[in-house]
Symmetry: C2
Subunit: 540 residues, 2 copies
């Protein structure tokens, strides 16, 4: 039996149309050297139409890829909206990829156009001669100064290109399952792999971002998007903001604690999103230069596990509630969100908030053990997390990766448990878990325990070979300047916090933990440093 | 370019699975003679599986129709979830249809099974001999007492039927665009027409119900669904509640103010939904028997325009915020919701709340004039409202109705204006608007103005023929008992509230305004009463 419902596709053009009219008074604020630059969503709508006309003029047709090599700013938002709406595919290039990775992904995606911020020209220009499919480079702003391009590539400024274009565009009706945008994983193992989002997946994900159980973005919010637009679509905030009528505050390249604090004071965000490192940095800065940030009612943190100590410090010292979430490029990225159940209180409430949270109805989750069997959601059985849903990837663009999928489910590579009422607690990555004498030790649990010490700024734990136990944990700590803590005192501090057999005997004090391009602990590099003898390890 | 996203359908089975596990501790409460009967969502999940097995046992396969002739209760919720999840189609029969309409819709939909509440047997049984496709009648509870059925029809009790069935069911994966449920319009003109909802439309609509700009249903809410499950899917509350983990409070047949007040006191809903008449009745009851209902933070009102006086009285006297919304059976039904823009205050805020509200990104709205031209959203231009979106019907089941559609848009039959920021104000139905001397007079505006008088309980306005002006308004008022108000004093009361040329000269005091099966003013009947000379009209 057929339904009588209209066949109306879910599309980015619909978000663009809605946000630029009904919410035309909302604004995107971009931080610059000279302070904030403001643009209403009505104006963004007109500029999107002009950009689409300009791109058509450059020969962008069908599903050709238009890449961005940009910070978070108004022009990046325009590309987010205009490129998919005209039927082309947005490819957000990660500015922190290694040069050879950048060349690989741009060629693999067959980018036709790249839009680049002037301040990022030095990072992009050296690679341009190897980008074989790029025909046009568009520099945001008014000047292409400093950019030399290979023969056959044309250079434009963004403002000149859109200046005389019509400010309305007849957005085509698309198949909602067609490609809208793509993003490559940061690729800690092997080449980065491409995830291709559809109009449908982005639309549904945007609805979820505005649902009460999700981040709960709402009309009138001022959302500070610190999480980069080149990283997992800035967690979907730009699209969700246009859907619901929340203003966006974009830090551009000003991601250091000092300018971020200044931006926050000036623009008073009510909501913000960033990885833990950013919030740690901000907190440390605010300890030196106190400032009220309590109007920022809730901050969404994901990308790596949030240390409970960070959640408490934001709540108690800054009056800001931390909302812990889990996701990955492959999941659009919103997976689970740690809103505690209504009615939970005190420590109980905190215990829920420490978890990676619950999945919404649209994302099914299960845990699978080493033998490929589904284990129960009983809060203690451990398995690899597998997920399924309309905004979860089912393959990678143009490459086979059968080991990443399990009969239609995405294997996340994360290990943990799920309670009967659906709360996920991740204990580790499959590749980071420490296998000691037949038992598993969670590197993340140890890290959180060590980071609970007041003198510890950062702690990363890896497994290192051990003759007797196969593997044992090694802790790399960064200490607060002038701290008198020693590895012995840190080990004592742990003694009543973790099981005795898990207590690490290998310690090293480092000036910083190596990080990946998106700010996560780079344990692969830490392991190489260990194996190359580059770490000064104390064995207790 | 293909996206790499998983092809995961949006389905009712997914809602059922999610709600009965992750939110297994939520509950549906059904009001009975003996007080509340409680059932957890985990239990509902098991009973849904048993019901699906039982229905398979009765030969329900493919997309066969399983009808309900029921109040709002736990068993109705189970039918809502189990029938579509097993791939069959739920058909909610409106218990207030006239007998010949009931026969028409059950035969037209080809209902195979009807589930009926014992208290509704007297309404259904007389029509059973004419229901040509019905093979099974299932009576909720334990007894079929009082039900005699034609030959060839089998009778079962619900509890016996599901008693020994397995409590798990391997829900089939459905095409999300296939039929899940159907509901016939109440049919004030001609035969009722069927709207067939898809898994996709119901799923997307449920997400919207839980979005911050929508009703904002949230985990832990206790939602009192007064709006019948046989009417526009109870505004989507049963599905949304399962999606988000809100408990449901079902009044069954206890819809009069006294038991409703008792139920509210006992179950402390945090959210509720009903047509204005219900809330008017409750308010009048509470004036006699005061009771705190302020834990019911927000009540959703739609189905017909909400008089501003009702909104103020609930806010000021009961501490309950009224959320005005617009929709219809054809729109699933959630269309617009009157949440004021963030930051609006005082009278400004109220002015937004009086409107029918804003449409979400998923529902496009436009106004079309008599000439078929789209008029601007400028807050003053008037046109017929047309809507488009994934949960808006594009046709009616098995009948042609070309005059109801305009090139892919649904013609709603409602007339009004839309502001540049998207707020809809309906002034009338196309068929109710009063055309006086070439100008339009809104019957609804007049009704609201008259109902602002403290002695007026209800007021309905229709156009009646006039030699000089073609049509002029006639006001039918219901006065508070013992009121000294006269039609002259009422006209005086209006004199500074509406334009002079709109002041009605025709008045009639009635004991009640005739209502449709769903509690709206039945202006068609009022017009016949007028034309048949059944109204005692005073001309001032």
């Amino acid at each position: 039996m057929l339904s009588t419902m209209q066949d109306a596709p879910l599309s980015i053009a619909q978000l663009l149309r809605h946000g630029s009219t009904v919410h035309g008074g909302a604004e995107v604020v971009t931080w610059t050297d000279a302070g904030p630059q403001r643009r209403s969503y009505a104006e963004v709508g007109r500029r999107c139409a002009a950009l689409a006309h300009a791109l058509r003029g450059l020969g962008v047709t069908g599903d050709e890829r238009v890449a961005t090599f940009m910070w978070n700013n108004a022009e990046h938002l325009e590309a987010y909206l205009a490129v998919p709406s005209m039927g082309a595919v947005l490819h957000t290039l990660n500015i922190r990829l290694f040069p050879e990775q950048l060349v690989h992904v741009a060629n693999h995606a067959e980018d036709h156009v790249i839009i680049v911020d002037p301040t990022l020209i030095p990072l992009l220009a050296p690679q341009l001669p190897q980008l074989t499919t790029v025909k046009h480079v568009i520099v945001t702003g008014d000047s292409t100064a400093g950019l030399e391009v290979p023969e056959g590539v044309q250079v434009h400024t963004y403002e000149a290109l859109i200046a005389d274009q019509p400010t309305e565009f007849d957005w085509p009706e698309v198949d909602e399952r067609s490609a809208a945008a793509m993003c490559y994983t940061s690729g800690t193992t092997g080449d980065p792999k491409g995830v291709v989002y559809s109009h449908r997946s982005i639309y549904l994900h945007s609805m979820q971002v505005c649902m009460t159980e999700g981040p709960g973005l709402k009309q009138g919010d001022r959302a500070l998007a610190v999480v980069p637009q080149f990283h997992a679509m800035s967690w979907g905030l730009p699209y969700a903001a246009f859907m619901i009528g929340a203003s966006l505050i974009m830090p551009d390249r000003f991601l250091q604690p000092a300018p971020l604090a200044e931006l926050i004071a000036a623009e008073r965000p009510t909501f913000a999103a960033a990885v833990p490192t950013i919030w740690l940095g901000l907190h440390q800065y605010l300890e030196q230069k106190p400032q009220d940030i309590s109007y920022m009612k809730e901050v969404l943190i994901g990308g790596s596990a949030v240390p409970p100590s960070l959640m408490h410090v934001f709540e108690n010292e800054h009056g800001v509630s931390v909302l812990h979430a889990w996701g990955m490029t492959e999941t659009s990225p919103l997976g689970s969100v740690a809103r505690p159940p209504a009615g939970s209180e005190g420590d109980d409430r905190w215990r829920y908030r420490y978890t990676q949270g619950r999945f919404p109805a649209s994302v099914q989750a299960r845990l699978v053990d080493d033998a490929g069997e589904v284990v129960p959601n009983d809060g203690s059985s451990i398995g690899e997390l597998e997920v399924r849903g309309p905004w979860i990837t089912g393959s990678y663009y143009g490459v086979d990766a059968p080991d990443k999928f399990d009969n239609g489910w995405l294997r996340t590579g994360d290990v943990g448990s799920i309670t009967p009422d659906g709360y996920l607690t991740l204990t580790d990555r499959t590749k980071d878990i420490i296998k000691s004498g037949g038992e598993w030790i969670s590197s993340v649990d140890l890290e959180n325990a060590v980071m609970g010490h007041p003198d510890v700024l950062e702690a990363a734990v890896i497994g290192v070979p051990d003759e007797k136990w196969d593997e044992r944990p090694l802790v790399a700590v960064v200490l607060r300047e002038g701290s008198a803590a020693t590895v012995d005192s840190l080990r004592d501090f742990l003694s009543d916090k973790v099981a005795k057999w898990q207590l690490p005997e290998n310690w090293t004090v480092v000036s910083e933990v190596p990080k990946t391009s998106v700010g996560k602990f780079d344990k692969k590099r830490l392991r190489s440093q260990y194996h190359d003898g580059g770490l000064d390890v104390t064995r207790i």
